[in-house]
Amino acid sequence: MTTLLVLIVVVLLAVALWQLTKIFDLTQVGKNVNNTQVANDNDNNINGYLMFAFLCFIYLTTIWCLVYYGHFPLIGDSASAHGPEIDNLMVISMVLIFVVQTITQALLHYFAFKYRGREGQTALYFSDSNRLEFIWSIIPAIVLAVLILYGLYAWTNIMFVDEKEHKDAIVIELYAQQFKWEARYSGADDVLGKANVRYIEGVNNLGVDLSDPNAQDDFTSSELHIPKGTRIIFKMRSQDVLHSAYMPHFRAQMNCVPGMVTNFSFIPTLTTAEMREKPAMVEKVANINDIRAKKSQALIAKGEPALEPYTFDYLLLCNKICGASHYNMQMKVVVDTPEEYAAWLKENAPKTIVQAVKNAAAEAKAAETPAQMKDTSSTKSKDTTVVAQAEVK
C-alpha cells in the first residue's frame, strides 16, 4: 500500500514538473522560435541569482558543518608523541584550504552572478596575461614548498625509526587474520622468535618457530597492552589477506601484508584512564551515551535488550577491506602506566606459546592413548610443516 502511495506521489510530482515546464514554455511564445531552449535574459537573471544563492549555500553548509561536526575531527588530544606534529600540520593545511576555498568559491559564483548575460552587454576581449599566469603559478608553488618541507620533516621523524638506537623500546608483533587481531610480545629477551605461516599448527596459531631460542618466552594476547612513555615498535604480519592496523587516537596506521613484515612505531603519551578524563572525550562519551540511551528506549519498546553504556577505550581497527566481516575486526588497546604494565606482564608473560603447545600436546596424548590411533589431520599438518621447513631453508 505504501509503495503504491509513494508511486502515486512520484507520478504526480513528475506531472507537476512537466506542467511547470509547459508554463515556462508558454512564456516564451512569440520570441525567436528556433532558440527557445537557449538561455535568454530571463534565464540568465534567475540562474545568476541562484548562483549567488548557491555561494551562500556553500558557506552555510561549511559553517553548519563546522558548528555541528567541528568536534569530530581527530585533532588535539592525540595519544602519541608524534601526534601533535600531525595535528599541527593538519590544522595548518585545513586553515589554508578554508581560506582558498572561501576566496575562490566567492570569485567563481560572484562572477557568475555579476556578469550574467544581458542583451547588449559586451564581453571583454581578454585572452592572455603572462603576469597573471606567473602570479598564480608561483604563489601555489611557494605555499606548497612550505607544506612539502614541513610534511617531509614530520614524515621522516615518524617513519624512519632506527631500531638499534632505541634499545629500550618494546617490540610487539601485531598479527592479523580474518577477522581478528592478536598481539605477540617478545618476552624477557626482547626479541621476537622467528615465525612463518608454515609453522601454524594447533594452538601455535601464529606460526611461531618453536625451535628458535628467541621464541621460547614469546606470549600472545588478544588485548594490546602498552605502557605510557616507552617507544613501542610494532612488527606487523598477516596470515591471509591485506589488513591495515589503524589506531586513530595514536595517529598510527600501517598495512599488514602477507609474506612480509611491516613496521610502525610510536610512543604512547596518555594512558587509557587519562584519555577518558580529557574534557573533549568526556563530552564525546556523554553525547554517545545520550544517543545510545535513546536507541535503548526504542529497543526496549520492541522487547529487545538495551544497549550497554559506552566507556572509552583505544581501538585498533582493520582499515583495509579484508572480507565479509571486515566491519567488525577490532582489538582493544590499553595504555597502562609503567607499574600497571609491569603487573600485567607478570600475570601474562608465563603463558608462553611454547608452554601452550606443550600443554595441548599433553592433553592430546591423554585423550589419544586409549585409542592408539593417530588423527589423520595432525599427520597431514605435520607433513606440511616438514615440507615447509625444507622450503624455508
Binding site: L17, T21, N34, N35, T36, Q37, V38, D43, N44, T61, G70, F72, I75, M90, M94, T104, Q105, L108, F111, A112, R116, G117, Q121, L124, Y125, F126, D128, S129, L132, W136, S137, L147, I148, L152, W155, Q178, N196, V197, R198, I200, G207, Q239, D240, V241, M254, P258, G259, M260, I288, R292, Y310, F312, L317, I321, C322, G323, A324, S325, Y327, T384
Partner: protein, 599 residues
C-alpha cells in the same frame, strides 16, 4: 597535410555513391563516428543507471544498518538480501561494482568514448576517424565487456567484492570472500576486454588528431577539448597496458598456480603453496594505471568545460597556452604520483617522501586551470545555459575536492585519514562529481549536434540545481566523519560505539544521495523524450566558433557536403573588437590588418 586530407576526401566521395545503409550498418555495426559516439553514450547511460542505483542501495544500508527494505528484496533478490536485509557480502559487492562501473564504464569509456568520437573529427575538420573499423571494434569490445560485467552480478557465489582496486590476496582467493570466485574471474575477463577496447579507441584518437586535421588547423588552433582528448588518449595508451599485465598476472595466480602477488598464506585451515610474491607489487601495477586513470576521467571533462565556458562567457578562454601547458603538465605528473595511494602499504618510507613531493606539485597546474576558468568568467557576458551551469559547477567541485588533495597527498597526514571517508569525499568530489558534471555539460551542449534537437532547458535547470545541492549535501559532511576516523567499506558501524555520534550524519548524507539520485530521472526523461519530441535545433544554437557547428544538422557520412572547411583562426575569437557579431567562427578568414593570436 592538405594533400592527405584531400585524398581522404576523394576516397570518401566515391564511397558514398556506392554505399547504401541498411538498419544494421547504420545503427548497429556502424563505422560512422557520430553513431559510435551515440552508442557509447547510450551504453554509458545504462551502465550509469546501474552504478548510481547501486550506490543508492548501499547508502541506505549505511544509514539504516541491517534494516529490512522491500526495495532490497526487489532489486537484489532473496540470495543477496534475504528478507529484505542486505548481507555483508552483498554490501561489499555493491561497493565494488559501483566503483568499477562508475570509474571505468561510465567516466572512462562513456565520457571519452562519446565526446572524443563525436568531437575529434568534427572539431578538427575530418571526414571521420582515422580508422572507422577499429572504432567500431572498439565500441563493440566495450559493449561485450559491459555485458560480461553485468552478467557477473548474477553468478551464484556473487560478483567481485574485493573493492574496485581488487587487491590480492583478497581478490585472488575464493576462500577469502565468495565474490573472489567466478565473480572475480568475470571481472578480470571483462576488464581485459575493456582495456583492449580502450586502447583501440585511444590509438585511433591519437592518430586522427595528428594526421587528419584540416588545412589551417595547426596544433595551437585546436579547441581545448581536442587537446584534452588527445593527451588523455596518450596517458591511456601509456598506463592501461600496465593494468592489463596486472590483470593477466592475477589470472595466472588465480588459475595457474603462479606466485606473482601471493606469498606465505594460511587460510581456511591450510597453508597455500604460494611463495615469494608480493601484494605490494600488485598495488604498484594497479596504481600505475589507477592514478593516471583519475586524469583520464578528469581531463576530458576539463576540456569540455573549457570549450563551454568560453562559448557561454562570450569571451576567449583565458590563457589558452597556459591551459595546454597545464594539461600536459598534469598528464606528465599523473604518471609519477601513483605511490601516494600506498604511503602506508609497507613500501619504503623514502618512496613516500618522493611521492609526496611529486603529488603536491600537481596542485600547481591544477591551480592555474582553476584561476584561468575564473578569469574567463570575469567581465564576460555569461549565457547561463544548463551546460554552462554544469561547467561552473565542475569548477566549484574541482576546487573543493582538489583542495583536500593537499591533505591526502601529504604522506604524514595520510597516515590518519587513509582509507577513511575523508578519501571517499575527496575523490568523489574531485573526480566523480566533477567528471560527471563535465559529462552532463557535454551532453547538454552537444545534444543538438547528436540528435538535431534541443534538450528542454528548464528541466536542465532543475536537474542542475538539485544535483549541485545534493552533491555538496552528500560529500561535504562526509569529510568530517572521515576525519573522525570512520573507515570506508564498513558494512555497518554499529560494532563501534565510538562512532555512534556519526550515525545521524550518515542519515543526512543518505537522504541527500537519495534525492539527488531520484532527480537524475529528470535528466533521463529529458534525454529520451527530447530525442523524439525536443525542439528542432538551428545549425549553431550556442553561436559557437568551432567547426562542428558548420556541419549540417542532418548527419551524413563524411560530415560536410562538398569540401571540408578550412581554418583561419583559433577557436576563441569571442567578442573580438572589430567584428559585428560576438563570435567569429574558425572558418572566417582574417581581415586585413587583424591581429592574430596564437597563430
Amino acid at each position: 597535410m592538405s594533400a592527405e586530407a584531400h585524398n581522404h576526401d576523394h576516397g570518401h566521395d566515391e564511397h558514398e555513391h556506392h554505399h547504401k545503409d541498411t538498419f544494421i550498418t547504420k545503427y548497429i555495426f556502424s563505422i560512422d563516428h557520430k553513431m559510435i559516439a551515440k552508442q557509447y553514450l547510450l551504453t554509458g547511460i545504462v551502465m550509469g543507471v546501474i552504478g548510481v542505483g547501486m550506490s543508492m542501495l548501499f547508502r541506505m544500508q549505511i544509514a539504516w544498518p541491517e534494516e529490512s527494505f522491500k526495495l532490497f528484496s526487489f532489486f537484489l533478490g532473496e540470495r543477496m538480501a534475504p528478507g529484505g536485509v542486505m548481507t555483508n557480502e552483498t554490501y561489499l559487492s555493491l561497493v565494488t561494482i559501483h566503483g568499477t562501473i562508475m570509474v571505468f564504464f561510465v567516466l572512462t569509456a562513456a565520457l571519452s568514448g562519446t565526446f572524443s568520437n563525436l568531437l575529434i573529427p568534427l572539431q578538427i575538420g575530418a571526414r571521420d576517424m582515422a580508422s572507422g573499423l577499429l572504432n567500431m571494434i572498439s565500441y563493440w569490445l566495450f559493449f561485450v565487456s559491459s555485458v560480461i560485467m553485468v552478467c557477473s552480478l548474477f553468478v551464484e557465489s556473487g560478483p567481485a567484492s574485493a573493492g574496485w582496486t581488487i587487491y590480492p590476496p583478497l581478490s585472488a582467493l575464493p576462500q577469502a570472500i565468495g565474490g573472489s570466485g567466478t565473480g572475480m574471474t568475470l571481472w578480470l575477463v571483462s576488464m581485459a576486454v575493456f582495456i583492449a577496447a580502450s586502447l583501440l579507441g585511444s590509438l585511433n584518437y591519437i592518430v586522427t588528431v595528428i594526421n587528419l586535421r584540416t588545412k589551417g588547423m595547426s596544433m595551437t588552433r585546436l579547441p581545448l577539448t581536442i587537446w584534452a582528448f588527445f593527451i588523455t588518449a596518450i596517458i591511456g595508451v601509456i598506463s592501461f597496458p600496465v593494468l592489463l599485465s596486472a590483470a593477466l598476472m592475477l589470472i595466472m595466480d588465480r588459475s595457474f598456480g603462479t606466485s606473482f602477488f601471493l606469498s606465505d598464506i594460511y587460510i581456511a585451515g591450510e597453508v597455500l603453496h604460494y611463495q615469494g610474491g608480493s601484494p605490494v607489487l600488485f598495488e604498484h601495477l594497479f596504481w600505475f594505471l589507477g592514478h593516471p586513470e583519475v586524469y583520464i576521467v578528469l581531463l576530458p571533462a576539463l576540456g569540455i568545460t573549457s570549450e563551454i565556458i568560453a562559448t557561454n562567457s562570450r569571451k576567449p578562454i583565458f590563457g589558452y597556452r597556459a591551459m595546454i601547458m597545464s594539461i600536459i603538465a598534469i598528464a606528465f605528473l599523473s604518471t609519477i604520483v601513483w605511490g601516494h595511494h600506498m604511503f602506508i602499504s609497507g613500501m619504503n618510507p623514502f618512496l613516500g617522501s618522493v611521492f609526496t613531493f611529486t603529488t603536491l606539485l600537481i596542485a600547481i597546474p591544477s591551480a592555474v586551470k582553476a584561476f584561468n576558468y575564473i578569469t574567463t568568467l570575469w567581465k564576460g557576458n555569461l549565457q547561463l545555459n544548463p551546460a554552462m551551469l554544469f561547467s561552473i559547477g565542475l569548477v566549484s567541485t574541482f576546487i573543493t575536492g582538489g583542495l583536500t588533495g593537499i591533505i591526502l597527498g601529504d604522506s604524514t597526514l595520510d597516515i590518519n585519514v587513509h582509507d577513511t571517508y575523508f578519501v571517499v569525499a575527496h575523490f568523489h568530489l574531485v573526480m566523480g562529481i566533477s567528471a560527471l558534471y563535465g559529462m552532463f555539460a557535454g551532453i547538454y551542449h552537444w545534444y543538438p549536434k547528436m540528435f538535431g534537437r534541443m534538450l528542454n532547458k528548464n528541466l536542465g535547470y532543475i536537474h542542475f540545481w538539485v544535483t549541485a545541492t545534493c552533491a555538496y549535501g552528500v560529500f561535504f559532511p562526509m569529510h568530517f566523519i572521515g576525519m573522525a576516523g570512520l573507515p570506508r567499506r564498513y558494512y555497518t558501524n554499529t560494532n563501534f560505539p565510538l562512532f555512534d555520534d556519526l550515525q545521524n550524519v550518515n542519515v543526512i548524507i543518505t537522504t541527500f544521495a537519495l534525492v539527488g539520485g531520484a532527480f537524475q530521472l529528470v535528466f533521463l526523461y529529458n534525454f529520451f523524450s527530447s530525442i523524439f519530441y525536443g525542439k528542432r535545433t538551428v545549425q549553431n544554437p550556442w553561436r559557437s566558433n568551432t567547426l562542428e557547428w558548420t556541419a549540417p544538422i542532418e548527419h551524413m557520412h563524411g560530415n560536410w557536403p562538398g569540401e571540408i572547411p578550412h581554418v583561419y583562426r583559433w577557436p576563441y575569437d569571442y567578442s573580438k573588437p572589430g567584428h559585428d557579431e560576438d563570435f567569429v567562427p574558425q572558418t572566417v578568414p582574417m581581415k586585413p590588418g587583424e591581429e592574430q593570436l596564437h597563430h
